[in-house]
Amino acid sequence: MVKVVVAGEAGTSVKKAQAWLRIKEAEIVGVADSLSSLREILQGTEVDIVDIGSITDSADPWVALAAQAGKHILYANDSALGCERISLCDQHEIVLQFANTLRFAPEYEQAYEQIKNGAIGKAGVIRLRRGAPVSAENVGKCIFQELGIREFDWLRWTFGEVERVMAREVKRTNESGQIVHYALVMLRMASGAIAHVELSWAEGAEHASFELTGDQGMIAHDSRESTPIRWSRGEQFLSTTFPGMDLMQRQREHFIRCVQKQEVPRLHSRDLLAALDVALAARESVKTGQPVKLMHGGDEG
């Protein structure tokens, strides 16, 4: 049995706890809603995994605490994690996994497999979109890093290294004083494929889509048309996740197998750093108005 502590600010850990409860090999041994309670639990209890949720201030001390105690870490908000914390985890030889990834999202995972099996032939133009509502939380945040990193990682995972990045970004204040924030990114992959990533903090609701074209076919997905249950109630629109496709649970099962050394992490920390490089290149491109070339450091196949 793998022993898990669910950590994070009060109220944020319910969904995570539910995901762990569905996993037979795991047992929740503690819930920590503050740094001090996490410290206490780690001192007095036998723990294998710390699942750290999103934290308003820096999550660095939480990650550092768990890493120094030699606990494997599943961390929600990957884009906020710096290189230092990642190398700290490497030093302590613990498995560091990032929850914020498309590598376990059913449609994206399946598309990855189809692409690897040659379903669309030679990739041509890849279109990805991700949108979320305007939110005060996002003011001052980097849209490429916060919203785009999952797409950049998935692109690298599926189509290989990125060679060149060209990006444009616009911000405007709307009538209610909120910042509407939108960006278009163009990536030239080392394989020659051309990718388009639309990132938007200007939407009515969260959505994501992809359209992957190649010389033998095309795969398309739109979250707005991929909801098994649609629930309309007056003005409200609620959609639900199909339990059989629960990525939180599947990712945690994979994580356990990594901790038990049966599998290697699907999303390695160096992949995350490489995706971060793409986000930073996009930011640089916005600043200069010019495309930015990326140096290849990764060994993604």
Partner: protein
């Protein structure tokens, strides 16, 4: 008004011919084509007089011409028609070189004839409606337009560079760029593009992406790729996401359709008004 068609090289010539025949105020009477076999065939199909000589065609009593020759020949045909004082509707793109386009516009001005370039999407009822919404301010300040004009690879002279001037970029960027300029009353400040040939073994580009910044700061993405698979249920698309401070408008110009799943031919096809393809 009497109208003649210069060349049936572009397949849209057929649409023009059939619309002109239905139009109460127009009379399609003549055709000129440098491919005389095609010219004779079309003259028979649409009951027109066929001319082998361009000057004779221009003197046939027509008031206006529709030019559907290969892109690289637009200049020669527009200038010849303008000198003969004929009003002109020319297929897009206007020319394959900017200098040629300028000269064509100049000659038409000098001769006092009307030169129009075929941008039919402006006349799609959907697009007129979209323009009204944008210009009414209902979307607030516009931040961006992300558009596609996808198609299937047309083949023929479209992929012979000396006749077409280029591939997907030449064929498809102009539609969206025209719509953006028309709706926003704005001009382009800077352009970046990635173009390539990745779908077919052809000499011209078949795909790419364009990134544009307008003078106003609005950013624009255009995907002109011939990336629609052969099994795609329609010829292609014209789509736009228009993002404003008060909302986002998703436009799929030819989406008003029904889908026909046909087991006899193993196809699925859009039916109803699926555009000008």
């Amino acid at each position: 008004m009497k109208v003649g068609i210069i060349s049936f090289a572009h397949m849209h010539a057929h649409s023009y011919a059939s619309y002109l025949q239905k139009h109460p105020d127009a009379q399609l009477i003549a055709v000129w084509d440098d491919d005389s076999r095609r010219g004779v065939e079309m003259a028979t199909a649409y009951q027109l007089d066929f001319y082998e000589d361009l000057q004779a065609f221009l003197l046939s009593g027509i008031n206006a011409v529709i030019i559907c020759s290969e892109n690289a020949k637009h200049k020669e045909h527009v200038i010849a028609a303008a000198r003969a004082k004929k009003h002109i509707l020319c297929e897009k793109p206007i020319a394959t070189e900017i200098a040629d386009a300028r000269e064509m516009i100049q000659v038409c001005k000098q001769e006092g004839v009307m030169l129009q370039v075929a941008y039919p999407v402006r006349f799609a009822p959907v697009m007129e409606n979209v323009k009204q919404i944008v210009q009414s301010g209902a979307l607030g300040d516009i931040l961006a337009i992300d558009g596609t004009n996808h198609g299937q690879m047309p083949g023929g002279w479209f992929i012979e560079k000396e006749l077409s001037g280029g591939g997907a970029a030449t064929d498809h960027i102009v539609h969206l760029m025209d719509l953006v300029r028309w709706m926003l009353q704005d001009e382009v400040k800077s352009v970046y593009a990635e173009l390539d040939t990745r779908f077919y073994e052809i000499e011209v580009e078949d795909c790419g992406l364009v990134s544009v910044e307008m003078e106003s700061g609005v950013i624009v993405g255009i995907d002109p790729s011939w990336s629609r698979p052969k099994t795609f249920p329609t010829w292609g698309d014209v789509t736009m996401r228009i993002v404003g401070t008060k909302g986002t408008l998703d436009v799929d110009v030819f989406k008003q359709h029904a889908l026909y799943y046909n087991d006899r031919d193993s196809t699925a096809k859009c039916t109803l008004g699926c555009g000008y393809g």
